[in-house]
């Protein structure tokens, strides 16, 4: 696959077309129908959640949020392959994959409502918290890969970055270390065409992003990130290679961020309606849905039926997050150190004294 679709020739791996028709039977993955429908539903759930979060944000019920919609096939592809014992190393635009790993929507809400408790995933194993400093997390994945190899485990680490993130030195160091150490890490570039307002052409003059794999002597491939089957097939292959000691792998998933960078961004400043419309044709949900409907596995009716259920569930988790107990003062101090310094304990005590004074003061007035 990696030879056939070499980024050196600017080839892109695709399995279905914009209408959901299989155009690449050779590489069409086999996925049983039930599972496929489940995957589609998960994508739908993620998108619905995404849009709903944006509207919560408008209501001032949650802080800045980076929506994923348009990029669901990437999350679904990885989500379908990643195992409970595999490592997930996210950037911050991986809602679907996080949910697939067992992170709850409530936890994500909690995090974006401004509570670190939302990163203390109760059910998601081997899943790192969201990482904000661009590309820095990729190096962690290389280290995790080393630990996997050192411990002779049968595991893969999946690490995410955006197109913009490939410009950071940490991208270079991460893939390079992983390459030298030959560790089981799948690096996934979500090339959604922009880093905030900056188009990929300003990030790099390279022909594509997958081609950067050549610089590290690792396998790389460019894949249609809006084509679930293609994503699935590539990630499956990458995982197999990794487990076989042939990692790391660099995947460029070509996609489009349909929404804003975050809820504080206005994409109309830097992209055109025409561009957005052109990408609308390639919408990942639309394509998978067309395939499913064509195969008789899904219908508009079913979608109409399930959507309200999703909305209710999303709202339920949102309200649960809203009703999360107030941020305990202790949490400000408690988690930094395994062995908390005396001075920090003293700072907390002083703060207690201040709070006591203040409650008196405020009452007085």
């Amino acid at each position: 696959m990696f030879k056939e679709y070499t980024p050196l020739k600017n080839k892109i791996f695709q399995v279905i077309d914009n209408d959901g028709k299989v155009i690449n039977t050779k590489w069409m993955p086999e996925i049983d129908s039930e599972r496929l429908v489940k995957i589609y539903k998960d994508m739908l759930f993620a998108r619905t959640a995404d849009l709903q979060i944006v509207s919560y944000q408008r209501q001032g019920r949650i802080y800045t949020y980076p929506p994923n919609y348009g990029q669901e096939a990437i999350a679904a592809g990885v989500g379908a392959v990643i195992k409970d014992h595999d490592w997930m190393v996210p950037a911050f635009r991986e809602l679907g994959t996080m949910l697939a790993k067992g992170v709850t929507l409530k936890e994500m809400f909690l995090y974006f409502m401004g509570n670190e408790e939302g990163s203390n995933f109760k059910n998601a194993n081997f899943t790192l918290p969201i990482s904000v400093p661009i590309a820095s997390q990729l190096i962690h994945a290389a280290g995790i890969g080393y630990a996997i190899k050192y411990n002779k485990e049968k595991k893969v680490a999946y690490a995410f970055v955006g197109d913009g993130g490939t410009s950071e030195g940490d991208f270079h160091e991460a893939v390079n270390f992983a390459g030298v150490w030959k560790v089981p890490v799948v690096f996934i570039i979500q090339n959604n065409q922009y880093g905030i307002s900056t188009p990929t052409s300003v990030q790099t003059a390279s022909e594509n992003l997958a081609i950067k794999s050549v610089a590290y002597g690792v396998k790389g491939i460019m894949v249609d990130g809006n084509d679930f089957f293609a994503m699935y097939r590539v990630v499956e292959e990458a995982a197999k290679l990794c487990l076989n000691g042939e990692g790391p792998i660099l995947i460029e998933a070509v996609t489009y961020r349909k929404g804003a960078h975050t809820t504080s961004d206005d994409p109309s400043k830097y992209r055109t309606k025409e561009e957005e419309d052109a990408w609308e044709e390639k919408d990942p949900m639309k394509r998978l849905k067309a395939y499913l409907i064509d195969k008789g596995l899904w219908s508009e009716k079913e979608e109409e039926k399930i959507l309200p259920q999703f909305k209710v569930e999303i709202d339920r988790q949102f309200i649960e997050a809203e009703n999360h107990p107030p941020y305990p003062k202790e949490d400000v101090f408690k988690h930094l150190y395994a062995e908390m310094p005396d001075d920090l304990k003293e700072q907390e005590k002083q703060y207690d004294r201040y709070l006591q004074w203040k409650s008196g003061k405020v009452k007085q007035q």
Binding site: Y63, T64, Y111, M113, G114, N115, E116, V132, P133, I134, S136, G164, G165, S167, E168, G169, D170, G195, I196, S197, T198, V202, Q203, T204, S264, D265, K269, Y270, P326, Y327, K329, D331, V332, F333, L336, P341, D343, L344, Q347, E348, Y351, Y354, W357, K358, K361, V362
Partner: protein, 320 residues
């Protein structure tokens, strides 16, 4: 303040062809805080532009441009994202002049919004001015008003030194103030006594100045007269102004947003010790963040300095 900074950039771009403005999203979009809005349109993509997403690259290229005669003004998108550029700052920008014995200078301004209070994600609320103030060869300044922002930024761009220009993003749009049109400069390194008082000196900068002003009102009600110094410059520190004030009041408190230990506060206290030990009627004190990571928004109020916390310390110090 956003407008004042934009104005300063506009003026210098118009006046001096060697001034170049770039950074992440500063071009087309005009910056995530719209500080550079409209400048690309006015001055073209050669002079105001988006850079790749790489802070070391941004500061490093600015060093190259500067030794080659340009005056780059670069933006770090947020305080928490300057660290990939740390090596370029500490190893080169602050040293090129010394290393080459003055043959090469690096007239660079690194602009950066900093500080908390805007309900932001992790890494978007930090105040780590100390670590920059400790770097020999660098100057670090912080305006607290639109007027100061404009005058100080123009001075920074005109300076031949490398200057970290920290912008208190919390008050980016909070303070409405008439700012003089046209060009004027405010000398870097000079503090500003913004309120005269007799009982205690309170030193602050950036967004904390406003909090201190509020605390001073509370203090006044309690019969305490507060002298307020807007430090303006983290490095160099205006010892003279501090010395003069503390000799008069005998008491000094520094209010900062960053973590306590090795914060700006202890250095100001040390200056008070060195300049006015025999005048001190109470231990120089500080109001600061805890030695913790700025909590996410739901917990941030615990961390942030506010008029109450400041007044609490004023009262304690005066009653000492």
């Amino acid at each position: 303040m956003v407008n004042a900074i934009n104005d300063a950039l506009d003026l210098k771009l118009a006046e001096d062809k060697t001034v170049i403005v770039y950074g992440q999203d500063v071009g087309v979009e005009g910056g995530v805080f719209r500080v550079t809005e409209g400048l690309q349109k006015k001055y073209g993509v050669q002079r105001v532009f988006d850079s790749p997403l790489a802070e070391s690259g941004i500061v490093g290229t600015a060093i190259g441009m500067a030794v080659a005669g340009l005056r780059p003004v670069v933006e770090m998108q947020f305080c928490g994202f300057i660290y990939p550029a740390f090596n370029q700052i500490i190893s080169h920008a602050s040293r090129m002049r010394n290393r080459s014995r003055g043959k090469y200078e690096t007239p660079i301004v690194i602009r950066m919004p900093y500080g908390g209070g805007i309900n932001a994600l992790e890494h978007h609320s930090e105040s780590m001015e100390t670590i920059f103030g400790h770097i020999p060869g660098l100057k670090v300044v912080v305006p607290s008003t639109p007027h100061d922002a404009k005058g100080m930024l123009i001075a920074a761009i005109e300076s031949n030194d490398t200057i970290l220009f920290m912008e208190p993003k919390r008050i980016y749009r909070a303070i409405k103030q008439e700012v003089a049109e046209g060009k004027f400069t405010i000398p870097l390194g000079k503090a500003n006594v913004i309120a005269q008082g007799t009982d205690v000196t309170v030193v602050a900068y950036g967004a904390m100045v406003r909090e201190v002003q509020k605390a001073a009102v509370m203090a006044k009600e309690a019969g305490i007269s507060v002298e307020i110094i807007d430090l303006r410059s983290i490095y160099p520190i205006d010892r003279e102004t501090i010395a003069k004030s503390v000799k008069k009041t005998g008491r000094i408190i520094t209010v900062t947003e960053g973590p306590k230990t090795y914060g700006v506060g202890s250095e100001i206290s040390q200056i008070a010790l060195e300049e006015a030990f025999l005048h001190l009627e109470a231990p120089p004190a500080r109001v600061s963040g805890f030695d913790v990571i700025v909590p996410l928004p739901k917990g941030e109020h615990h961390y942030m300095q506010d008029p109450y916390k400041i007044f609490y310390e004023i009262e304690r110090t005066v009653k000492y």
